[in-house]
């Protein structure tokens, strides 16, 4: 047993140290503007610019390029020095905490103190290239992911206030993460154990959710007031939260929004902005109802929806979903087309940086090249999501006998 825990105790610091050394080689300077790894909403470079303006008495929200939360601004302005070394250490810590939170979720799902898979799960997070590279590019989506996992891990342990506070922080920084509010509340009301193989109705009445929801709203209110105090006015709401809805910056990213709204007729822009935003929300109820017996799995699926469809995704968003697959080994035998999905992911992971460079730097390709690769990427994320939903439902039917086939009605 001591050997197992020591393997986790070795893996996380070792990988974090290697990552810190990688920071020092100058890799961040190459990646810091990479459009796959950072979006306008998560760019460390823009955060630095906002801080510089803030410290020089210019309201960063008065300009059109700063979309970070005022909480980050206040944090870096007062507590954390803006040197790069501190940022490297902070990003390493965030990843380490996120990996440990993932391990904790795994342990509480298996109801064990420690297991032989701990180190594997931690490395599935720390070594996932979709998560490692944005972290090396100092994308604040690393911080968002850490908050997501910490919030989920506290929810698994039944610590409602810590979980909801972290979720409120997360929603503050990345409002589309409101999608996982429902599964986290369900998780707090039930347990994180795997019930995928034995579906049942939700164990308790939903009236107990009201105080939790109320707690969350209070936390959000407090953070909003704190943000208003930090920013000094209300402009930050439209610049930070509003940009998720209005898509003011059409800088390319691996998601589906940017080219759609680059090519959108001005006449239909508000309509489709509304459709795309509402489209994210319509997954909450069906997934939560269908997987009411396993809210952790529902949360995991909604993170997959976010990674595919959110307004300003980076590779870190689908990366979180892919790393979380490590938590559910029971569904592996039931994946529908795992090879196709994996190949699609490899295909798009190679195409995205290549076509981005061909279009914007080499000048030998055009926007359609990169757009096509984001479509492939959306298909691969969608395929992963569909695989996971299929497997999560299929496991309840159990092994089919010889000659039997499991189909949908």
């Amino acid at each position: 047993m001591s050997k197992l825990s020591s393997s986790l105790g070795f893996v996380v610091p070792a990988i974090s140290t290697c990552k810190f050394l990688a920071y020092l080689t100058g890799i961040p300077d190459i990646l810091i503007h990479d459009q796959q790894l950072i979006s306008p909403l998560t760019s460390y470079f823009r955060l630095q610019e906002g801080l510089y303006l803030f410290q020089n008495g210019i309201d960063p929200y008065d300009g059109g390029s700063f979309h970070h939360s005022p909480l980050l601004l206040a944090l870096f302005d007062t507590m954390i020095p803006t040197s790069r070394l501190v940022a490297y250490a902070l990003w390493c810590l965030c990843d380490a905490f996120a990996a440990l939170a993932l391990v904790k979720i795994w342990r509480s799902r298996q109801r064990v103190a420690q297991s032989s898979r701990d180190a594997l799960i931690a490395s599935a997070y720390l070594l996932n290239p979709y998560l490692l590279l944005p972290s090396l590019a100092l994308s604040t989506s690393t911080v968002d992911n850490a908050l997501t996992l910490l919030s989920l891990s506290y929810a698994c342990q039944g610590n409602a206030s810590a979980s909801l506070l972290l979720l409120a922080l997360l929603v503050h920084m990345s409002p589309s993460s409101i999608l996982i509010l429902a599964p986290i509340i369900l998780l707090l009301l039930s347990d994180p154990l795997s019930h995928l193989a034995s579906p049942k109705l939700f164990p308790t009445g939903l009236d107990r959710a009201v105080p939790l929801l109320f707690t969350f709203i209070i936390y959000m209110g407090v953070l909003t007031v704190a943000s208003c105090i930090a920013a000094g006015n209300l402009l930050w709401i439209s610049r930070s939260w509003g940009s998720n809805l209005m898509l003011p910056d059409l800088t390319p990213n691996p998601g589906m929004w940017w080219y759609f709204f680059t090519e959108m007729f001005d006449h239909f822009r508000p309509f489709f902005l509304m459709v795309f935003s509402v489209h994210l929300l319509i997954y909450i109820a069906p997934i939560c109802i269908k997987f009411q017996y396993d809210p952790l799995y529902a949360g995991f699926l909604l993170l997959g929806v976010l990674g595919t469809f959110k307004a300003y995704p980076t590779l870190a968003d689908p990366g979180l979903f892919l790393s979380m697959i490590a938590l559910f080994p029971e569904v592996y035998p039931y994946f529908r087309h795992p090879i196709v999905t994996a190949l699609l992911h490899i295909h798009s992971a190679l195409l995205l940086p290549l076509f981005n460079r061909l279009w914007l730097t080499q000048g030998t390709g055009n926007a359609n090249f990169f757009y096509a690769s984001t479509l492939v990427f959306a298909c691969s994320n969608g395929a992963a999501l569909i695989d996971c939903i299929w497997a999560g439902l299929r496991i309840a039917v159990g092994e089919a006998k010889e000659g039997d086939h499991v189909v949908q009605e």
């Binding site: 503007h33 459009q35 470079f45 630095q48 610019e49 801080l51 510089y52 303006l53 020089n56 210019i58 960063p60 300009g63 059109g64 390029s65 003011p248 910056d249 059409l250 800088t251 390319p252 589906m256 940017w258 080219y259 759609f260 709204f261 680059t262 090519e263 959108m264 007729f265 001005d266 997954y283 069906p286 997934i287 269908k290 929806v305 469809f309 279009w359 914007l360 730097t361 055009n366 926007a367 359609n368 757009y371 479509l375 959306a378 298909c379 969608g382 999501l385 569909i386 939903i389 299929w390 439902l393 299929r394 039917v397 000659g403 039997d404 086939h405 499991v406 189909v407 949908q408 009605e409």
Partner: protein
């Protein structure tokens, strides 16, 4: 029936014309003067500056408070009515408009006769605040009116290009002491090209059009063939004199280009293909000044009526011989001045470039060389459309390659807003004597909606000139006395990433298909029940 009225009209017209002339020449309150300055340049070219000034003595700009009520009726004799109406309609106190084509070469040509030589159009105005409409509403009206008056695309100098750079621009005349403060609005449009359709309305503002006087030299075929040409309009108010309207046209022609003898001889005939055949009768003064070369032998025909300070003057209003054509001849062939022997004509040498191969990010680099033997403080103004986003935290300055603190002071930075506001970056730079200061800053380039792109999207976007204004005597105060002569950098071209313009429908269809595919699959899985079916061998076949 018709003969009598026609005759009557002729009588009235001649009477009116006579009284006009009489009034113009007397002190009726309006005064028109014209001047042509010709300057041989050291690279063999010839700079000509036409200036036409009209004074409206005793007049004051309209106060914005009076905008709601009827204005005084406007009766002018030589003052341009079309311009006067615009000035009063929008209560403009001071107005400057310049439209130029080409790059002014400060190193060889020195300071221009009129300072506004930025490539493209530049418009700035001082307007008092108050009354029923805001300054920005009147600024929009002014742009549109001038756009119509001069047949130029000035209307597109909208709020996406309008700034208020108070450090670099100060009122050149006086500002009336009204209750509301005066506000500055400035905009530049580097892609605007001045051409003959702008000159025709310009000539219409002159009392003698291009029929007589100095203005008869304004031959569009030659003006727009010149290496550099530009026109400008200035409206000022002097508290003790009145409203002054200055119209000017500048050009830099190259006699060597047309000469077969490698001589830089010029004459009105060779420069303008015209001569002055008549005087402008309403002009109170009409002079031609020729800058006389000091180093080389030359001949000037006819000889000037007076000459002082190295300037030969011709007065066209003196009765007698009208010098219809002036010609300057050099006995020897022109030798292009090479090397560093030449004395610098302006204190600064400027170079501004946008580097970086990517269409997403770039680097703004400036090299400012102080040629004087003394420290120089300059106001640096950069206005950028929102297409270019500065990263002010990356701003760094070096002197002759070494990092140097304290070069940049009094920074005022207004960050841009997408689709609504440009960047305004103003600072005071302290340039050590005989040194080169290099400034650099990271920038990012915007990704535009496909409808935001210009019709020729692949050409790129013109970015306005940066402006440098030396401060006199190391003064800290920013007013008309401490600011020296403005220097403009050349404009830049930025290459923005373009989407595929042919496929908005395809993109909408593709993206919606992928979304519908994922959405449909997810809902298919979530809503349909899983069942186990037994297939025997017969069914399989």
């Amino acid at each position: 029936m018709t003969r009598v009225p026609t005759f009557l009209l002729q009588v009235i017209a001649s009477f009116l014309a006579g009284s006009c002339l009489a009034q113009a020449s007397s002190s009726s309150g309006e005064e028109f003067s014209e001047e042509l300055q010709i300057r041989p340049l050291r690279d063999g070219r010839v700079a000509s500056t036409f200036s036409f000034r009209t004074f409206l003595h005793g007049a004051t700009p309209r106060s914005p408070e009076s905008l709601g009520s009827d204005d005084n009726s406007q009766h002018y004799h030589v003052f341009p009515l079309a311009l006067g109406q615009i000035l009063r309609e929008y209560a403009v106190t001071e107005l400057h408009l310049s439209m130029n084509a080409g790059k002014w070469n400060y190193d060889e040509w020195g300071y221009p006769g009129e300072l506004g030589v930025a490539t493209g159009a530049e418009l700035w105005a001082w307007m008092g605040e108050g009354g029923i409409s805001t300054v920005d509403e009147r600024w929009a009206g002014l742009r549109n009116a001038l756009s119509g008056l001069f047949c130029a695309s000035l209307a597109s100098m909208d709020e996406q290009r309008t700034t208020s750079p108070l450090m670099a621009f100060v009122p050149e005349g006086d500002l009336p002491n009204w209750p509301g403060p005066h506000l500055l609005r400035h905009a530049s449009l580097p892609s605007e090209h001045v051409c003959t359709e702008n000159l025709t309305p310009f000539l219409k503002l002159l009392p003698c059009k291009s029929l007589s006087g100095i203005a008869s030299l304004l031959n569009p075929h030659r003006l727009f063939d010149a290496d550099w040409h530009g026109m400008s309009v200035h409206v000022l108010w002097h508290a003790n004199k009145g409203v002054e309207v200055g119209l000017s046209f500048q050009l830099v022609s190259d006699p060597l280009r047309q000469s077969s003898s490698k001589r830089r001889d010029w004459s009105f005939q060779s420069l303008f293909d015209r001569s002055i055949d008549n005087r402008c009768p309403v002009a109170s003064s009409s002079t031609i000044n020729v800058k006389l070369p000091t180093e080389e032998a030359y001949s000037l025909e006819p000889s000037p009526s007076s000459s002082d300070d190295g300037i030969g003057r011709y007065n066209l209003n003196v009765e007698g011989h009208l010098p219809s054509d002036i010609a300057m001849r050099w006995p020897s062939e022109f030798q292009y001045p090479l090397g560093s022997a030449s004395v610098p004509l302006v204190p600064l040498a400027l170079q501004r470039t946008l580097t970086g191969a990517s269409q997403a990010n770039g680097h703004l680099a400036l090299r400012i060389q102080n040629r004087l033997n003394e420290e120089l403080r300059v106001v640096y103004l950069e206005t950028m459309p929102w297409l270019v986003q500065f990263y002010a935290h990356t701003l760094s300055a070096t002197v002759d390659g070494r990092k140097h603190a304290g070069l940049i002071s009094n920074v005022s930075y207004i960050p841009p807003l997408h689709h609504s506001r440009p960047t305004t970056f103003q600072a005071i730079l302290t340039l050590p004597p005989k040194s080169t200061v290099a400034l650099s800053m990271d920038v990012s380039k915007a990704f535009l909606r496909y409808t935001d792109h210009q019709p020729d999207a692949q050409r790129g976007w013109d970015l306005p000139s940066a402006i440098f204004v030396p401060l006199r005597n190391g003064s800290d105060r920013l007013d008309g006395h401490s600011l020296g002569q403005r220097i403009y950098t050349p404009t830049m071209l930025i290459d923005l990433a373009t989407p595929d313009f042919s496929m908005p429908y395809n993109v909408i269809i593709f993206t919606c298909t992928v979304m519908a595919f994922i959405f449909g699959s997810v809902f298919n899985l979530l809503t349909r029940k899983f069942v186990v079916v037994h297939l025997d061998d017969q069914h399989k076949e």
